[in-house]
């Protein structure tokens, strides 16, 4: 079984080298400031031999958008969770991890597509799952799907006309 590294231990390790990197620490994860993400990951690669990026995803809490990274050390069998919070929904920007891990490429494109988080330094940041020209980011909590036009005579259209909708 792999061991999930405790956020507090890793934070203690990081504080020695990078004093302003850690935003918040908990038992199961670690929140890092966006500016310090690359340095933190390089430091972890050197010190804790964390060499594998398992997963890169995001969560939309209404106050902030949180990008979640699941890292692991293959030789020591450790797992670690790092979270980066973007408080500005309009201009959410996080440094890209593609210089360190090639696997972050497509996953960052997916997060950009569905959440609108821009990854600085990404070689090819464009939409992945939605099509070119789609407006909006679907997995945001405030995303509203534009109404699908209904053919005349469909019950949905009739009901919409009854209620006085467009």
């Amino acid at each position: 079984m792999s061991t999930w590294l405790s956020g507090r231990d890793v934070a203690r390790l990081l504080r020695a080298h990078l004093p302003d990197a850690v935003e918040e620490e908990a038992d199961d994860c670690l929140a890092v400031y966006p500016g310090a993400l690359l340095d933190t990951c390089r430091h972890l690669q050197r010190e804790l031999a964390i060499d594998y990026l398992n997963n890169l995803t995001a969560v939309d809490y209404l106050d902030y958008i949180e990008v979640v990274y699941h890292l692991s050390s293959l030789e020591r069998n450790h797992l670690l969770t790092i979270k980066v919070r973007c408080y500005d929904r309009e201009h959410a920007e996080v440094p890209s991890l593609t210089p360190l891990w090639q696997g972050a490429d497509l996953q960052e494109r997916e997060v950009y597509d569905l959440f609108g988080v821009v990854f600085a330094g990404h070689p090819n940041l464009k939409r992945l799952l939605m099509w070119e020209g789609f407006l909006g980011h679907p997995l945001r909590k405030d995303f509203v799907m534009p109404p699908f036009p209904q053919p005349p005579g469909s019950p949905v259209r009739k009901r919409g006309e009854e209620l006085g909708l467009d």
Binding site: L129, M130, W131, P138, F143, M145, F148, P151, P152
Partner: protein, 217 residues
Amino acid sequence: MTATTFPYDPRELDRREGEEVERLIRGSQLAYVDEDPFMTSMLQENILVSTVDKMLNWARQSSVWPVAFGLACCAIEMMATGMSKYDIARFGMELFRASPRQADLMIVAGRLTWKMAPPLKRIYDQMAEPKWVLSMGFATSGGTFIGGYSMVPGVNLIVPVDVYVPGCPPRPETLLHGLMALQSKIKTESIMQDRLRQRERFFEERGNVLAGLGLPD
């Protein structure tokens, strides 16, 4: 010396042959009549009379070759239908052609995203007449994903569908029932209906209706 003559004596053989010929002449005084019922029953067993429609429909329904269009989980059930337990080959659909130009039926097996819809339309256009479409599954028929941001709510918005098979995913028996329903639909067709012109007119009418709706761009 006894009176019995040697049987292979040439004169004896000639005598016996002559006796046999005489006997045959005496017995052939009555001709064999042509037995009509006998002959017609042979013909009945060997000649088939039917309409061109029936033959054509039978041929078409018994060898519908699907194009492999498995998109999502319904594809697994389609594969299971093609395997030995729920054999699809016994209905004539043994060859899943990879190329749409060689296929008759498009089984849309799985949810369709808007991003995949142009390739689906293109593959449908590449199929030659006669062609049918079977919408497999609840999502493909417009159920599961009606309010979604990326899914087509029903593949009949993109291509005309002949048979809808419900289920999520439909069991192989359900898919086989849908295929048999398609076969009985093919049975009702006729060589007099010009499928190509009908389809072109249908698409034109649909384009007119869409233009008339005045949808915002």
